[in-house]
């Protein structure tokens, strides 16, 4: 590496450090961010012929976990078998796992550049332990629901929404209905 390049890297690191000390940058205009997301989704359609997903990758991870812990059980599982290693469904499964890894990286980079990396527990005004309890409970209900629905806000909501998929729009309407129905129960956590 040349001295000039080293100096440049040094300066960039300093800039990031300075940015981290400053107040966090405001969020992007929601419509602008939405158009950005829509173009990402369109790129997935154009390049791969399928859309985005998030929960699908998690199924492959859970399936791999079951296979590691209990290989015989996984091989006999009606549900996990299609997600395991060398089976035909594996290609899209692998794609979704890597996409999920990308989501982590992209979210981290965006927050880093905006000075929004901050460790903590959101919604902890009800107490840290109760909040982590609602987090695990809500996550479990949601995870279960993604399998009944064959997707989540990414695979059904955004992707199926843009494809005018009948089941996706039914899922989306039900999602908002379910959330508004239950919101009153956890109001203290969020407001």
């Amino acid at each position: 590496m040349t001295t000039a390049a080293i100096t440049e890297v040094d300066q960039a690191t300093t800039r990031i450090a300075v940015q981290q000390r400053r107040a966090p940058a405001p969020y992007m205009n929601p419509y602008l961010a939405g158009v950005g997301l829509g173009l990402v989704l369109l790129t997935a359609f154009i390049t791969m012929g399928h859309g985005l997903g998030a929960s699908g990758g998690v199924v492959s991870i859970v399936g791999a976990g079951v296979q590691t812990v209990a290989p015989g059980h996984a091989a006999n599982s009606e549900f996990f078998r299609p997600y395991l290693g060398t089976t035909p469904g594996g290609t899209l499964g692998t794609w979704l796992v890597l996409e999920l890894a990308g989501i982590f990286i992209g979210g981290f980079v965006s927050a880093l550049l905006a000075g929004r990396l901050k460790r903590g527990i959101t919604g902890r005004q009800i107490g840290a332990s109760p909040r982590l309890l609602t987090a695990v409970a809500g996550g479990a209900v949601m995870g279960f629901a993604t399998r009944l629905a064959r997707g989540c806000t990414s695979g059904q909501g955004l992707t199926g929404g843009a494809l005018l998929n009948v089941g996706s729009w039914a899922f989306m309407l039900a999602l908002f209905a379910g959330a508004y129905l239950v919101a009153g129960l956890v109001r203290r956590q969020w407001t």
Partner: protein
């Protein structure tokens, strides 16, 4: 004009380069989610108390962008829309799934993608939502033989609204566009009537 997209189906992209695309697309997806503030659980939940409708605005402007892009690229003859994977509809299980998903979303505070973004930015509760989600999927997998008859009920096949209603896609695209624009105007009015209590970065 020859149809050249989707690239994967046209053989322009192989499985290996497809996986590079997966990482890049995922990264861009996570980037815009965080930019919009959707890595913030309070902002996500505020949608359901009508204080901050960012979730709605981002979701439907993304859907509208991709929808119009697909439509025009299809019309121009560069993208074969019929090759794009449409997941099959199981009406009742998907409605029940949606109701449960919405409940889990507001209780936990994140959906699957946004839980990854929030976890990546240091939020422990988001990591716990992700762990809970894995547990929920594991449970589903374990009781799948019992739940399968219901999960596969009311099957409608791979079906979109233009096919269901036997109308030209352009008509549905037009209706969705008008509904989204109306929704955006309404969302702005609701936020204003609630005193613009938008959730800011912490």
């Amino acid at each position: 004009m020859d149809l050249t997209a989707p690239f994967y189906q046209a053989g322009v992209l192989g499985p290996r380069s497809g996986l590079v695309v997966a990482m890049l697309i995922g990264a861009a997806f996570g980037f815009f989610l965080e930019r919009a503030g959707l890595g913030n659980g309070r902002k996500l939940a505020s949608q359901f108390y009508l204080n901050d409708l960012t979730v709605f605005k981002v979701m439907f402007s993304a859907i509208l962008t991709a929808l119009l892009g697909l439509f025009w690229l299809g019309q121009a003859g560069v993208l074969d829309v019929s090759l794009i994977l449409l997941s099959p509809t199981y009406l009742v299980p998907q409605v029940i799934g949606g109701l449960l998903f919405g409940a889990g979303f507001v209780i936990g505070g994140y959906c699957p993608g946004t839980s990854c973004v929030a976890a990546a930015t240091g939020k422990l509760d988001a990591l716990v939502v992700f762990a809970g989600m894995m547990a929920g999927i594991l449970l589903y997998g374990e009781i799948y033989p019992a739940i399968r008859p219901f999960a596969e009920s009311t099957s409608m096949g791979r079906i979109s609204f233009p096919a269901l209603l036997s109308v030209r896609p352009g008509i549905v695209v037009g209706i969705v566009t008008l509904l989204a624009l109306g929704g955006f105007a309404l969302a702005g009015r609701i936020e204003k009537s609630r005193g613009n209590r938008l959730v800011q970065p912490e």
